[in-house]
Amino acid sequence: MGLFDRLKQRLGKTRSAIGDGLSALFRGGRPMDEQLLDELEEMLYGSDLGPLATDLVDDLKRRFKRGELKTEDDLRATLRERLVGELGEAGEITLTAKPHVVLVVGVNGSGKTTTIAKLARRFREQGHSVLIGACDTFRAAAADQLEVWAERTGAAIVRKTEGADPAAVAFDTVDRAARENFDVVLVDTAGRLHTQTNLMAELEKIRRVIAKRLDGAPHSVLLVLDGTNGQNAIAQAKLFTASVEVTGLAVTKLDGTARGGAVFAIRREIGLPVQYIGTGERAELLEAFEPGAFADAILSSAGSSETAR
C-alpha cells in the first residue's frame, strides 16, 4: 500500500464525514472567482501552510485573471504542482559511511524516540546492523522506552544511568559502533525547546563529541517535527539548524487530521528537505517522504478543516 493510500485511509474517517473541501468550494456548479480563491486561502491556512497560503493564492489569482484557471481540475492541478515544487526533491537518508551516524533532535514530545525505533526497524529490514545511543538521560525512563524498542527491532543499545552526561553516552555509542563495525548509529537526544540556550549548547556539545570520535560524523542530523505543530515549527527548524546543522526532517503524527503544512515554509526559508513521515505508533509506520503524495494529502485534508466547526 502506497503512502498516499495509507494517509488517505488514515484520514478517511474525517474525509468521508465531511467530504473534500476543494470540491465543496465548487458545489452547486459555482464558478471560479476571486471570492472562491479567498475561501481557498483560508482552507490552506487550515493546513498550517501559514503565509505561504497567501502567496499561493495570489499566484492563483494572477493565473485566474490571465484565464489559465477555469475549472476545479485546473485549480487542483496547479495547486498540486506548486506544492510539489515547493517541497523539492525527496530522498531518505543514504548511508555514506560506516558507521553512518544519525543524530536525532527535536522539541519535547515531537516523537524522537518513536522515530528512532522506526528508523532502526527500517535499517534493520534493509539488512544493516544498528546501534542506538540513548542520550536522553533527562526524561524519566526515556532509556527504558528506547530499550524496549531496541529489543523489538533487533538493534543494539548503549545506555547509562539517568542524569549521566549525554555527550558521554554519545561518545561511547560512536566509539562502540566504530570498534564493532556497526552500519548505522542512531543517537537519541532529550527533547528540548529550541529557546533553551543551555540545552541547545548541550546539543552542540553532543555533536562536537561525536565528531571528535569519528571524522565526518554525524553524517546526518534529523530534526523530528510534530506534524500537529503550527508555525512554531519554522522557529524550531531555524534554531536547531543554527545549532547543529540539521540535514533533514522527519514529520511525525501525520495520521491525525493535521498535516504538517509548516514544512513548506521550512523548505522555502531554510532549504531543509523532509525525509521521513511518521504515521502511527507502530514501528513499521515510517515512510520515506514523497512530495507528490504529501501534497495530495495536504490538498484533500485542507478541505476537512473547512467544515470542522
Binding site: 474525517t14 540556550t197 487530521t257 478543516s305
Partner: protein, 541 residues
C-alpha cells in the same frame, strides 16, 4: 516571520493617525492586520474570522470607550485587547473538588502533548498549594516505559503511583480509584495514553475510563505549539469526554500559542494551567491577560509590573529614572540598575514579559552569566571610577580587566555601551521625557522598553495604562537602560554609531569569551529601514 501584531499594526495604525473616530472604512486595514497576526500565531482560521468580526462590533459599537479624547488607534487596540482577554477568560477557573470521597482528575491528550509531565506537575501543585494527598494512576499502557516514567516522577515527589500489569486501562483506573479510597488519598490523577482524536478505538477507551471513574475534572492537555489541528482534536475530545478544562503546555518556548484561543472558542472550557518549564514546579495559573498579550506579541506587561512592584523599591526606581533623564547617569547608577533588574528573576523571563520583547528575544541569546560578567567589570572599578568614568585611562582599564578576569576589550565595550546609554538619556531628555512625569512621559517611558518602538506604549490602551500606574514610570526607565545594556534596546532614538550589541548577550564583542552561538543573520538593511520608519513615525507624533 512572526513579527507580532505590534509590528503588523504599525502600518495599519498609521491610517488612524490624526483621526478621532474609527469608521467602517478606516477599520478595515486594522482588522486585516489583526487577522493575519492571529493566523500566524496559529489561531484557527475560523476562530480568527469570528474574532475579527467581534472586534469590529466592539470598536464601532457600544463597547467602545466613551471618551472623545481617546484616539482612533487607542480605540482600536483597546477593542482588540479587551476582546481577546474576554474570549480567553475567565481567569479564576479552578479544578472541581468532590465534597466527599476522592476527587478524580482525568488527563487526556494527543501523544507528546506532555500529559505525564503535567500529571506530575499538577500533583505537586495540589500538594504544595492546596495540601492535597494525590495518588497518581499510570494508565498509559501503550507507550513503552510510560508507567516507569510516572513511577520515577512519583518517587521524586514522594507520592504513590498505582499500576497493575495486565489490566485494561478502564479497569486499571477504577482499581486506582478504589486504591485511593483504601489508602485515604483525596485526589486521583489518571494519566492516560496519548491518542489521536481520529482513533475511534482509543477514544472509546477514554469514554470507558470516564464511565467507570466518573471524573470530576476531565482535562485536555494541549501543546502550545499546536497549529490549526488544535480545533479539531479539541472538538473530538470534547465530544467524547465533555471536557471541564484545558492545560496548555510548553509555554516556555516561543510559540505564540494561538491554539489557546482556538481551544477556548471551540470547547468554551477554561484554560486551567500553563506548563512553563522542564522542572516539576513549572506549572503556572493561566492568565487571560498574559495570554492575550502573548498571542498579539505584546509581552506580559501586567506580569512584569506585578513582578516589578513586588521586587523593586519604588523610591529607588524613581531616583534612578530621574538620574537617567537628567543626564547625571554614572556607572554606579548603571550597576544599581543592573542589580535591581536582576532581583526580578532570570533575564530572559523578565525581558520576555516586556511588550514587544517576546519576538525580539526569540533570536537573542540571553544569558544571566553575561550580566554577571558586566557586574564583575563594574565592581572591579573603584567607586570614584564609577562616579567619574572619564578617569578610566588605559592603565586603569587593564587593571579592571585583570580584576574581572576579562579582556580590556570587554571594559571598552562596557564603556562604549555606557556612553551610548548616557547619550540616549540626553536625547530622551530633549524629547521632553524628563520634563514632565505626566501621562505622556509615562507612556513614552513604556514605549522605550520596546524594540518595536512607540507602538507598545499605545498598546495597553487607557485601561492598561491606568493600572500600570507609577510602577511603569520607574520600570520604564530602568528597563530602557537595561535593554540597551544587554543589547536589546535596538529601538528608535539610539544615537548613530551606538551599537547595543557590543554588550549583547552572546554577541560577545572583542573576544569576551562569552557563550557564542550562531545566530540567525540579521538583515541590516531591513533594520535600518525599520529604524528610519520609526524616526519618521516619531516625528509625526
Amino acid at each position: 516571520m512572526l513579527d507580532g501584531l505590534t509590528a503588523k499594526l504599525g502600518g495599519a495604525l498609521g491610517l488612524f493617525k490624526g483621526q478621532r473616530e474609527l469608521t467602517d472604512a478606516n477599520i478595515e486595514e486594522g482588522l486585516a492586520a489583526v487577522r493575519q497576526a492571529l493566523l500566524e500565531a496559529d489561531v484557527h482560521f475560523k476562530v480568527a474570522r469570528d474574532f475579527v468580526e467581534s472586534v469590529r462590533t466592539r470598536a464601532l459599537g457600544a463597547g467602545r470607550i466613551q471618551d472623545k479624547s481617546v484616539s482612533a488607534s487607542d480605540q482600536f487596540v483597546h477593542a482588540v485587547h479587551r476582546e481577546l482577554v474576554e474570549l480567553m477568560g475567565p481567569e479564576d477557573a479552578k479544578l472541581v473538588f468532590a465534597s466527599n470521597g476522592p476527587t478524580v482528575i482525568l488527563m487526556a491528550g494527543l501523544q507528546g502533548a506532555g500529559k505525564t509531565t503535567t500529571c506530575a506537575k499538577l500533583a505537586k501543585h495540589l500538594v504544595t498549594k492546596l495540601g492535597k494527598r494525590p495518588l497518581l494512576v499510570a494508565a498509559d499502557i501503550k507507550r513503552p516505559a510510560a508507567v516507569e516514567q510516572l513511577r520515577v516522577l512519583g518517587r521524586q515527589l514522594d507520592l504513590p503511583v498505582y499500576h497493575e500489569d495486565g489490566l485494561e486501562p478502564p479497569v486499571l483506573c477504577e482499581r486506582g480509584l478504589k486504591e485511593a479510597i483504601r489508602t485515604g488519598r483525596d485526589v486521583v490523577i489518571l494519566d492516560t495514553a496519548g491518542r489521536l482524536h481520529v482513533d475511534d478505538e482509543l477514544m472509546e477507551e477514554l469514554a470507558a475510563i470516564a464511565k467507570r471513574t466518573k471524573p470530576h475534572n476531565q482535562v485536555l492537555v494541549v501543546d502550545a505549539m499546536t497549529g490549526q489541528d488544535a480545533v479539531r482534536s479539541a472538538e473530538s475530545f470534547h465530544r467524547k469526554l465533555a471536557l471541564t478544562g484545558v492545560v496548555l503546555t510548553k509555554l516556555d518556548g516561543d510559540a505564540r500559542g494561538g491554539a489557546a484561543l482556538s481551544l477556548k472558542a471551540v470547547t468554551g472550557r477554561p484554560i486551567l494551567f500553563a506548563g512553563v518549564g522542564e522542572k516539576i514546579d513549572d506549572l503556572d495559573a493561566f492568565s487571560a491577560e498574559r495570554m492575550a498579550g502573548r498571542i498579539l506579541g505584546m509581552g506580559d506587561v501586567v506580569g512584569l509590573v506585578e513582578t516589578a512592584q513586588a521586587k523593586i523599591d519604588e523610591g529607588e526606581a524613581q531616583a534612578q529614572f530621574e538620574k537617567m533623564v537628567m543626564g547625571t547617569f554614572t556607572i554606579e547608577d548603571m550597576l544599581a540598575q543592573l542589580r535591581m533588574i536582576q532581583n526580578l528573576g532570570p533575564m530572559k523571563k523578565v525581558l520576555g514579559m516586556m511588550p514587544g520583547m517576546g519576538d525580539a528575544l526569540k533570536n537573542v541569546d540571553m544569558d544571566d552569566k553575561h550580566i554577571k560578567r558586566i557586574e564583575a567589570l563594574c565592581t572591579s572599578m573603584t567607586v570614584k571610577e564609577r562616579l567619574q568614568p572619564d578617569l578610566l585611562d588605559m592603565s586603569r582599564r587593564r587593571r579592571i580587566a585583570r580584576g574581572a578576569g576579562q579582556d580590556v576589550a570587554d571594559v571598552n565595550a562596557l564603556l562604549k555601551s555606557y556612553k551610548g546609554m548616557k547619550q540616549m538619556m540626553k536625547q530622551m531628555n530633549k524629547m521632553g521625557l524628563g520634563a514632565a512625569m505626566g501621562g505622556k512621559a509615562k507612556r513614552q517611558a513604556l514605549a522605550g522598553m520596546s524594540p518595536t518602538g512607540e507602538l507598545s506604549g499605545d498598546f495597553g490602551g487607557p485601561g492598561l495604562m491606568g493600572r500600570l500606574g507609577g510602577a511603569a514610570k520607574g520600570l520604564g526607565g530602568a528597563a530602557k537602560g537595561l535593554g540597551s545594556l544587554v543589547g536589546l534596546g535596538g529601538g528608535g532614538g539610539l544615537p548613530e554609531g551606538f551599537d547595543p550589541s557590543m554588550l549583547g548577550g552572546g554577541g560577545g564583542a572583542g573576544g569576551s569569551g562569552g557563550a557564542r552561538r550562531p545566530q540567525p543573520a540579521r538583515d541590516k538593511s531591513k533594520e535600518k529601514a525599520k529604524r528610519k520608519q520609526k524616526q519618521k513615525n516619531r516625528k509625526k507624533r
